[in-house]
Symmetry: C2
Subunit: 235 residues, 2 copies
């Protein structure tokens, strides 16, 4: 049986060889939720950047610039980090360059993986099916918050472990911990996360609507995949 | 209010400044459970070593050598890593040099902390009271398994967060996750941990009795503390 493991922080990536794995990068609040929303609404491709200035510089090559630092839109960028900004007809068939505090760093640290795909609650079932049908072992990489484990990414990892339990076997204790937490939280994820540090941080930014959106499963049946440094939809 | 945070793996220690914190090092299976047992049974002091050969070399200075690598006793050492070995009259008032795969590494990575104490289920209430009465913020450092997060150390961290909830505030999401897991597991920790990777690993070594012992709370009202590189009982 294939296996699934969970890397709870990008700062633990050195423990997980990825050369033969499909990596699912997850940053529920809000990078990977934005990426899924944008591609589902017709954006042509998203180029993730760990480095802010590299992201800014590529605008000259016909990209819209997008992203945040510490939860707030980057000065001079075209778009921020709310999924609602990406339901925008203006962006249809356009290319976006994207950088965030945690999510795009996690993608950078996943380089070398057999495949890199993007996971979020809003495309949970599509990712589940993709992994079920694939032939590779799975590593879920939680973007966390500046290296520190967070609840919302852990819950998503747990959702994958739970939904795949008849097909893919947990490899270690981190997937088991995530699965337990998801089963505890799944009936009311918004309520469960009320005490979480990142949700408190984001509540100060007044984005309750974003949080509810990002925690509502299965809004888009798409699986963004990194091909030649660009995230695109392949199916 | 004081705060409590949880470092789920020694490989995340760079994220946690410890200079003003009391660090609780935990390696439930079995290093910190052995240390508590040994000191409660009259051992004079335990000197922890990250490095196996340094541990071996100090025997010449009148120490008993003790510990394991990958769960098994080190060849040529006097004692292994079962708590039952330390209920031994021969060890009364003696000094032990101790090295293990994970626990003594976690102690080494906690150097620089304001205080370092040793936690395990078998001295849970004593550690809880110590932290409640202290004036410093708390960091629980889980020894994990070669850097990978494990369930049993996480559960102990969660037990501290839960037992201190009226006195010390969780600092981030890791303590909240640990607390949820502990509350889920506490009625039957042995059962809860049956699926865990480290328990499976130890079951192959045939040490069910050790596991049950290490998961039985409050057997010893002692708090080992690191003073001048030696763990001793101060109260």
């Amino acid at each position: 049986m294939k296996t699934i493991d969970v890397c709870l922080s990008p700062d633990l990536m050195h423990l997980y060889p990825v050369g033969d794995r499909v990596v699912v990068v997850v940053d529920i609040l809000r990078a990977t939720s934005c990426m899924v929303t944008a591609l589902a609404h017709g954006v042509k491709s998203i180029r993730p950047f760990a480095n802010l200035e590299e992201c800014r510089a590529i605008k000259a090559q016909g990209y819209y610039t997008a992203g945040e630092r510490n939860g707030e839109k980057v000065e001079g960028f075209d778009f921020g980090n709310s999924p609602f900004e990406y339901m925008n007809k203006k962006l249809k068939d356009e290319k976006i360059a994207f950088t965030t505090t945690n999510g795009t760093q996690a993608i950078a640290k996943s380089q070398g993986a057999k495949e890199i795909i993007i996971g979020s609650f809003i495309n949970l079932s599509a990712v589940t099916e993709y992994l079920k049908n694939g032939s590779n072992n799975v590593l879920v990489v939680c973007a966390a918050w500046k290296g520190k484990v967070n609840l919302e990414d852990t819950l998503f990892a747990g959702a994958l472990v739970e939904n795949l339990k008849n097909n893919i076997e947990p490899d270690c204790d981190a997937p088991l911990a995530a699965q337990h937490l998801y089963n505890l939280a799944k009936k009311d994820m918004v309520g469960f996360l009320k005490g979480s540090s990142h949700v408190k941080r984001l509540n100060r930014l007044n984005i309750h609507k974003d949080i509810e959106f990002c925690l509502t499963p299965d809004q888009y049946p798409v699986v963004p995949k990194l091909i030649n440094n660009e995230l695109i939809l392949t199916q």
